[in-house]
């Protein structure tokens, strides 16, 4: 499938005209990335908007630099990332990393800015997509918390807590000492990032 065809198959791009999608197709650069490639790190400035063509990208937020990171989510084919920072000019709030080989189509920052400043419907649509993505993250977190809060007994609560741990702490097991260190650091208010 070529890029144009792929863009037209993404449900999120339904509201865009053929002309908008052609502009996007021409401005995007396709690239392959190895496993572990860091697209951008938390705290850095933005340079591109990425669309995942193949593979998966993890989104992590480090609360404590040495030990603890919350795995916010895993992004898949057809999803965009790197957009919010570009729109707002803020530093990235999370680190995005390839999980296995990943192929992306990226829109360079200056091209996006130009389209944004021209009030292209394309960039307004991007804003809509990113807000909706954020809302989905928000809903997903509220859903997990709700399950724990309304658990009928301790076992049910523990099951949901385990799901939340797996979802946000990931599969990396913290040792008792690491957990204690991270907790002590957080309680002491030492925010290292």
């Amino acid at each position: 499938m070529d890029l144009g065809e792929f863009l037209r198959s993404i449900p999120d791009f339904d509201g865009l005209t053929d002309d908008d999608l052609t502009v996007l197709e021409k401005a995007m650069v396709i690239k392959s990335h190895d496993d572990g490639h860091v697209f951008f790190s938390q705290g850095s400035r933005s340079d591109n908007v990425y669309l995942i063509l193949e593979g998966e990208v993890s989104v992590k937020r480090h609360i404590n630099k040495q030990i603890a990171a919350l795995r916010l989510k895993q992004m898949h084919r057809g999803e965009l990332f790197g957009l919010y920072s570009l729109i707002t000019g803020r530093r990235h709030e999370a680190t995005c990393e390839a999980v296995g080989p990943v192929k992306t189509a990226s829109l360079p920052g200056p091209a996006f800015k130009l389209l944004y400043d021209m009030h292209s419907p394309l960039t307004h649509h991007f804003q809509y997509i990113v807000t909706r993505q954020l809302m989905q993250d928000y809903r997903s977190l509220v859903g997990l918390l709700r399950n724990i809060i309304f658990s009928s007994d301790a076992d049910e609560a523990r099951n949901y807590i385990d799901m939340t741990k797996t979802r946000y702490l990931g599969s990396v097991e913290l040792s008792e000492t690491d957990a204690q260190k991270a907790l002590a650091s957080l309680l002491a208010g030492k925010k290292t990032t």
């Binding site: 609360i63 919350l70 993250d137 809060i149 939340t164």
Partner: protein, 183 residues
Amino acid sequence: MIEKMLTQEEFQDCFPQIARDLKKSELYTMLNSLERCEFDTGELVTRDGKTVDALYFVVDGELDCYLENNSDRFKLGIITKGQYIGEAAILDGGPESTTVIAASKTRLFKMTHDRFQQLRAAEPRLASTLLHAFCEVLIERIQSSDELLLRTLLKLKQDPDIFDTGTIREMFAVVCQQLHGYE
């Protein structure tokens, strides 16, 4: 005589960030897109799990915000002037995640989903300004709850058996409050 339309001054006072980013003509369109509605104390505005067809801008009064599950209810906090209700549903059409009940006589202005979609097509810059405001609120809430969630999970990882169900509920309820914008 009751003012049906929200005045420019009131909107600027309640939603300065949005007002600041709108051009004069867009602000006018925005005000014309809003419909006044009032709720008396105890009246239901949204119900947790049910769909809502509008976004509400709170201009006057206070509303209680709850998480609800069958007969179980947990108060998250109070919504006041300058806040919105129903921004989730306007984006994805999904159900509301909270029950909101007027805690006093309340004046809201609502924008229907249909109107918002019309604005997205006809006034994309205006719609983007609203989306930007929602984004800012969401990012702030998600980030501020991240650290608390991590701290809570680590506490439980350290010694999961020392907490009873009530304490666990309380610990996660605090995270949930933070996520909804209540300290």
